[in-house]
Symmetry: C2
Subunit: 329 residues, 2 copies
C-alpha cells in the first residue's frame, strides 16, 4: 500500500495503533494527534513537546528564502505549536541535514535567524545535531516547554454553540509566497512577504487570555490552511461548523495579490497554509471579552454546530467546505 | 567558506559563538558539545535532551537494512547518548522525511522497531511529525530523559591517571557493515551483524555502576569510532591518553571479517564507528570494582595522561593515534 492511498492522517492512525493510545505510559497526558504532546513530570508540572521540519524544495526554496528567515521560521513554526497548546516554550534542539552547496556563512545565518526567533519568545537553543545528506537540506527543530497542569488547550474540546475566531489575517502567507514566486517588486507586498518568511507565533493572544481569564475551549494553529485545520479540530471534537465566508479577515495586500494573479481571494484565505495564526473556539461571552482587548486582531468567522458537517456560508447560500489545505501525500 | 574547510566541529564552534555559551539561560547546566544537553527544571530535577538523525544513503542503505532494524537503531543511538550522560530516557519524538518509494508497511515496520527499542529502555514515543521530501528519507529522533542533579557524566572531567575502559567489543559494528556490504552468508557473522543493525545502549553498565557506587569520572558513547571519540573526550578534559593496542577487545567474528577482506583488524577497532559502547575513565579502584561485576564485558584499554598527546602503544612502540573515525564533512 502506498502512503498516498491513505494520506498522512491515515498513516498516523495506523502508527497510533502500533504505539498504543498512551504508549502504555501513565504520565502521558496527551500523545499523538494534537499540536504537541503533554507529559506530566514526577513533580506535578507538565512538559510540552513538539517537533517540526522544513525541507528544501518542499517547505522552502532558497531562490527566495534567505537563511536568517529560514532559521526564524523553522523555530517559529514549532513555537507556534506550543502557543496552540497554551504553553510557554523553554528550550530547543536543532537537527540539520546539509548538502555540499551550503557555505559556513549560510549555516551561521540560519542560526542567527533561529536564535532571534527563539530569544524573542524566551527559548534557549541547548543542543542539536549536524549530519550530511546526499543532496538534502532540512532543518528539524524540537521545542520543549511548560504548561500548568490541566491548563493546556486541546483540539478536541470545541462545543456546539462556540464562536469560531481567528487571530490576524487569513491567507497572507500563501499570498506572500505567490508574490515571491512571481519575483514581484517586494516593496508593494512587504506585509504578506513578511508573514510568509517570518511568521509570528501568537503568544500575545495566549498570554492576554490567561491574564484576563478568558477561557478558550479548543485551539489549533493554522499551519495547513483554515479548511484543513478546522476539519482537524472538528473531527477531534466530534462537532461540525459553519464558517461565514463574508467575515474572513483578509489583508489588503492579499486582495491585491489575488487580483494580480486572477485568483479567488477566498481560496487564499480558506486553503492557504502557513499563517501560524490561532484558530480558537470559545463561548460568546469569552469572545466578547477577548474582542475588547484584541479589536481587529481577532475575528469571529463562524460557529461550532452539533452536526458533523463543515459548511461555508456566503450571503444566503451554504455549501460544504472541502479541506483543500496542504497535504504531504 | 565551505563546511569541509573547517569540518563538523569547526562549524559547531562557530555556532556556539552565535548562540552564546549557555545561550544566556541560567537553567542550562550543559549545552552544546557533549552527548546531550542538561537543563534544570524549576523544581530542581534535571532534564536531559538529545537529537540524532539517520539519513538514507549516509547512515543506512535499504539494500541491507530492514525497516524494523532501522527503527530500532534510530531510537537506540539517541538512547545511547542519554546512557552516556548517566541519565534515564523518558520519552521520544519521531520526525520522518519520506519519499515516494516507501510503502505504508515499511513505515509501520519502522515504528514497530523503534517501539521495541523504546519500550526495552522504558521510553515512550509521545509524538512526532511526518513530512514528504523530494527524494530524501530520514529518521530524526529526539529523546528527553532525567538525571539527578549534579549526577550527570560529562566528557570534560577525565583526570590524569584515570583508567580508560570500554564496554563490550570494538569495531564489531563496522565489521558487521562490511559483511553486509559483501553480501556474505549472514549465518557466520550473526553477532557483528546484530551489533551493526541493532546496537544496544549500555544502560546495564550505567545502572550497575550507580547501584554499587562505582564512580565514573568521564564518559562518552562510541559513535564515531574510538580514535575520534577518545579525542573528543581528551580535548574536552584537556588531557592526553595512552591506548594499549594489544588490549583492545575484539570479537572473533570481527577478526574473521578483517581476515576475509585483508584489512587490519586494528583499523576496525580504532576507527570503526557505531559500536555505541561506552568509553569511560575512572580511578583504578573504581575500575577494579566495576571489573568484578562486568568481567569480560569491561576492558581496560589505556590510561589518561597529563600531556595533550594521544598515543597508541603496541609492544614497546608508541605512535600518535590519529583520529580516523567517521566525519560528515
Amino acid at each position: 500500500m502506498q502512503i498516498s492511498d491513505i494520506g498522512e492522517f491515515g498513516l498516523i492512525d495506523k502508527i497510533q495503533r502500533i504505539l498504543g493510545s498512551r504508549g502504555g505510559d501513565r504520565q502521558l497526558r496527551l500523545g499523538i494527534g494534537d499540536d504537541a504532546a503533554i507529559f506530566e513530570t514526577p513533580k506535578g508540572s507538565c512538559s510540552i513537546a513538539t517537533v517540526d521540519t522544513m525541507a528544501e524544495g518542499v517547505h522552502f526554496d532558497l531562490a527566495y528564502t534567505d537563511f536568517q528567515s529560514l532559521g526564524w521560521k523553522a523555530m517559529a513554526i514549532n513555537l507556534s505549536d506550543v502557543a496552540a497548546m497554551g504553553g510557554r516554550p523553554k528550550w530547543a534542539l536543532v537537527n540539520l541535514i546539509l548538502h555540499d552547496k551550503l557555505s559556513v556563512e549560510n549555516i551561521l545565518d540560519l542560526y542567527r535567524g533561529l536564535k532571534k526567533s527563539a530569544r524573542r519568545f524566551d527559548t534557549t537553543v541547548i543542543g542539536g545535531n549536524i549530519a550530511k545528506g546526499r543532496s538534502e537540506f532540512s532543518v528539524t527543530i524540537t521545542v520543549v516547554g511548560e504548561v500548568k497542569k490541566n491548563r493546556w488547550l486541546k483540539r478536541s474540546s470545541a462545543k456546539p454553540g462556540d464562536v469560531i475566531a481567528v487571530t490576524g489575517h487569513l491567507g497572507s502567507s500563501h499570498a506572500g509566497l505567490q508574490v515571491l514566486k512571481h519575483h514581484e517588486n517586494r516593496r508593494f507586498f512587504s506585509h504578506i512577504i513578511g508573514r510568509h518568511l517570518r511568521p509570528v507565533p501568537r503568544f500575545d493572544f495566549i498570554d492576554r487570555c490567561r491574564k484576563h481569564q478568558i477561557s478558550i475551549n479548543a485551539c489549533i494553529d493554522l499551519s495547513d490552511g483554515l479548511s484543513s485545520d478546522l476539519r482537524h479540530l472538528c473531527r477531534a471534537s466530534r462537532v461540525g461548523a459553519v464558517i461565514n465566508g463574508d467575515h474572513l479577515p483578509i489583508h489588503p495586500e492579499t486582495r491585491k495579490a489575488s487580483d494580480r494573479y486572477t485568483k479567488n481571494v477566498y481560496d487564499y484565505a480558506l486553503d492557504g497554509g502557513e499563517d501560524y495564526e490561532l484558530l480558537v473556539t470559545l463561548s460568546r461571552q469569552n469572545f466578547e471579552k477577548a474582542k475588547y482587548f484584541f479589536k481587529k486582531r481577532l475575528t469571529m468567522i463562524g460557529e461550532i454546530t452539533s452536526g458533523k458537517k463543515i459548511l461555508l456560508r456566503s450571503g444566503h447560500k451554504e455549501i460544504p467546505l472541502a479541506a483543500r489545505g496542504y497535504t504531504h501525500f
